[in-house]
Symmetry: D2
Amino acid sequence: MIEAALFGAGRIGKIHAANLARQPGVRLKYVVDVDAESAQALARLHGAAVAGVEQALADPTVRAVVIASSTDTHSDLIVRAAAAGKAIFCEKPVDLTLARAQAAADAVKQAGVLCMIGFQRRYDPTFAAVKARLLAGEIGAPEMLTITSRDPGAPPVSYIQVSGGIFKDMLIHDFDIFRWILDDEAASVYATGSCLVDPAIGAAGDLDCTAVTIRTHGGRLCQINTSRRAAYGYDQRFEILGSDGMLQAENHRPTEVVSHTARSVSHDKPEHFFLERYRAAYAAEIAHFFDAMMNGTPLRTTVHDGLKALELAEAATTSWREKCIVNL
Amino acid sequence: MIEAALFGAGRIGKIHAANLARQPGVRLKYVVDVDAESAQALARLHGAAVAGVEQALADPTVRAVVIASSTDTHSDLIVRAAAAGKAIFCEKPVDLTLARAQAAADAVKQAGVLCMIGFQRRYDPTFAAVKARLLAGEIGAPEMLTITSRDPGAPPVSYIQVSGGIFKDMLIHDFDIFRWILDDEAASVYATGSCLVDPAIGAAGDLDCTAVTIRTHGGRLCQINTSRRAAYGYDQRFEILGSDGMLQAENHRPTEVVSHTARSVSHDKPEHFFLERYRAAYAAEIAHFFDAMMNGTPLRTTVHDGLKALELAEAATTSWREKCIVNL
Amino acid sequence: MIEAALFGAGRIGKIHAANLARQPGVRLKYVVDVDAESAQALARLHGAAVAGVEQALADPTVRAVVIASSTDTHSDLIVRAAAAGKAIFCEKPVDLTLARAQAAADAVKQAGVLCMIGFQRRYDPTFAAVKARLLAGEIGAPEMLTITSRDPGAPPVSYIQVSGGIFKDMLIHDFDIFRWILDDEAASVYATGSCLVDPAIGAAGDLDCTAVTIRTHGGRLCQINTSRRAAYGYDQRFEILGSDGMLQAENHRPTEVVSHTARSVSHDKPEHFFLERYRAAYAAEIAHFFDAMMNGTPLRTTVHDGLKALELAEAATTSWREKCIVNL
Amino acid sequence: MIEAALFGAGRIGKIHAANLARQPGVRLKYVVDVDAESAQALARLHGAAVAGVEQALADPTVRAVVIASSTDTHSDLIVRAAAAGKAIFCEKPVDLTLARAQAAADAVKQAGVLCMIGFQRRYDPTFAAVKARLLAGEIGAPEMLTITSRDPGAPPVSYIQVSGGIFKDMLIHDFDIFRWILDDEAASVYATGSCLVDPAIGAAGDLDCTAVTIRTHGGRLCQINTSRRAAYGYDQRFEILGSDGMLQAENHRPTEVVSHTARSVSHDKPEHFFLERYRAAYAAEIAHFFDAMMNGTPLRTTVHDGLKALELAEAATTSWREKCIVNL
């Protein structure tokens, strides 16, 4: 039986707690959150205890930690958990600065512990099938990748202000998809964007629409387009052109109803937001983490992946702010 | 150069005239219609002359006739044109009674002339592709056929009254599709229906919705569902299940626009009605007719096909009226 | 806390056990199965005890029973469970004979207990959305229903022999969908069919392909086509034409990958079989059952629905065997 | 009756000649081509005469010229035809250099003649419907445009060498779509690319895959991805995100057959290449040109549009060659 501690009892913490509860051989022992009430409620739901960071990390029976607290706490918790010899699952991003993220990565390396970053999209059934079929050679050698990544609506400016900016907060996932699908690294990054959705986001020094282009060392091309607003829902698609064809990852829909009326032929909008869209992915990533712990299966999303995605986010931010092409 | 006479200058006559005009080596010489004005207008458009039936059939330079006049004139015109040694293209149905249709078929046989019936659906690119792929063995042996055939809206009762009833007027096409796709003949027919669209149709002794089941000598099953009204447009689909898979013929759309809004994800309704939906088919069938005349290509839709479809329409009418299963 | 007993530890019993385990406030107390090993394994997995029928029904703490044993035991278990005052969830069909099914229904009525029949399709997200949108008036008054229901492959003849025949075993679900979607009862039933998949099924006195037509008292039309084999997977669709449009329930797919190659543009086949396709439905129906127990929510699939579906299955069997139209 | 002269009897010249022949009130008088045999054959097919440039332009009965000759002759022919007072339809691009294209535009302006550039995509039913629905406000204010533009296979290097490069030869259409759909002008252009399809193209100093980003004065974003090779056919799509939704222009297919087999569910690949895909557009643009001549309808694609698209092609070429962001 693996005992685990969960840091963070918010929206994403609750998801992880529920998925944790379904892993055979795993038990949630502690819930840690600065908000005592949230911690209490979640702990009660899963038969766990509330604890502080220190207590949770000091308990030798706790072999795994799941970090789902606010971004600014990630790298510090990774360092401390690594020092305590725990296997670590940490939500993206590793940190908002490369330096601190690197420090976390170093700590993990030194301690020799498992550290998985929660790039859940790699575990999505549709995305994972694209990757598998690509590897199986279905469309030959990959050449061009187009990623569309749009939220249903912009978050409040208070969120934007602590988010680290759209490239670190939102595109961090797309940068990871880029590296994973093309299996290649960026040679140059160009990013531009606008504030077309909410002027307050611009006033906060951020963008709400972006267009990013990456050219890899192998000459492959990747274009990412992102918006904080898609009136029709959560739009999460990508398509990869290869020498022998193309694979597309299309949106998921809540139902397969098709309606024919005098007005049009229509079907459901995409699943509403990330909790619905990536429900299966969140379950699969936690299962993967414990599978890695128990059976030595190699981790598919490591702290190195977290660092590389952050590096791209920084390059994109620089490209946008300084109106230049950033070479890596 | 083949000179041709056209009987009927109405909606469908105009279509045939325009397609005739595009055949290399073919010239429309006469337009015949009881409505002198319509005949005149169409003749003028295509540089043809107006003539009466007698004159057109008596002209030895006229080698082909296209019969697109009202249904009650078809069999008589076939008989006369056959006697005059003309190649005949005739709109469906051959006649509203089997006896007269048989007489027309006999006349054709005796005269040894070409006689093609305008079951244009067999020449539709989508339907023809299904047939070709079925013949190529893509889904193994055909087993079950489902046909959906719905008009956008009910015609006026005045039309219904001279139509011969829904089975001869509307399902005649579906009966032909059944024979063509399954390449088998009916052993039994069951038909039922209702008047759900327009009570005046019921008052006229007809149905506006039907459900027909045919079992073939080979044990294959066919279900046809028909309605005089589909609020979303002209619905023309069929699907054939085989031992190794299924082929579907789906609706055609005017454009390939997809719209995503806060309300739904939608695309165009089906093409509005038969003139749009079967535009390519009408052109292809006339080309086929003259190809048969010029090059001896075997006709794909003969007067025999016209008779067999009519036989099924009669059987279905009997099944419905007498509430019985009709064995053939 | 509601304690429950499960009868049947086979394929479907396991599904129900797992879903039961996820209901808050519900505990699986006993697993009952003639196969001691299966019962033992399933009981162990969920922390339940193995018991006999008598013991399970005699235990006053057991307030609910889930009947997932073989069909021939259903009605008897319903009668005994009703007599013991238990709330009953029973898999379809209620029984293979109307008389015994009626006896079960009578027992339920007399005991005044809840009795839900497992027509899980009504709880499927896509099917339930069609029903809800139909009720909301999206396509006006319902007129014609077409149901396509095909298994990926035929079961062994040993299964066929005890199945009660294709109408009771397979179409029972479609008959329930018909009643639910059209909200109308059958006035006449016509059924025909063939044995095109496996001659052994015919030798066993059964069909493997059927075509059924139902006309309701309100003149609505329903066509059902069924096959024991669809090479492309589990095909579960229906479409309902209304005065103002059409609603289609389309197949579900494992992923939303689209592949473009030199050969074709393709996507996934339908979800493989009923355990995958109706996973959400099975979870939702058990939740509904316990919701009805706890909160008095009216049952959506009662023993009456079970009886009516069986009545249609009998009528269809008669229509087929006696080559007649059966009036109800 | 408008008499017209056609310059160029090649692939695209033949298309225009056939469409010209279908315009009521228009007659093709001359066919001009350096290849006498091609000129002769095409002239014969349409009952026209073969002529030289001089003769055709000197004939006062010729009121319209259609320029479909090689790109290097376009601007010169425009200048001469303008001087002769002819209405001009010219294939894209106006020229390979901005200076000469500007000279042609000046000549048109000075002569006060009609001059339409053959950006046929604007006349495609699907693309035109997107534009119309965008103008009608269906998705609010346009924000982001993504254009996918891929040929089925790379042309021979001999073609590449005289093509002016991928940006002027292939993306010229996409630059026009960008201006037309967003109704805004470029403020900055970033282009990159690779040679992944055919090394000979790289050796000829060109690219075969490109990724272009345009930011408009209004802050709107456009990404274009292009490849000389799509194994699955001619891929011509775009999608426009607006404040209230998204409109997509999807590929057209030859038929609407859907095939379900044990392997996958598939439909047709996109229409094979531009002659098939834009058949309707080529017909509509010629109709539009003569409609403008006869009825004064304002031209939808003027020589100004030709210049602006060329300007973008030059900017993209510079951006790529000098690895910089080009501000306009």
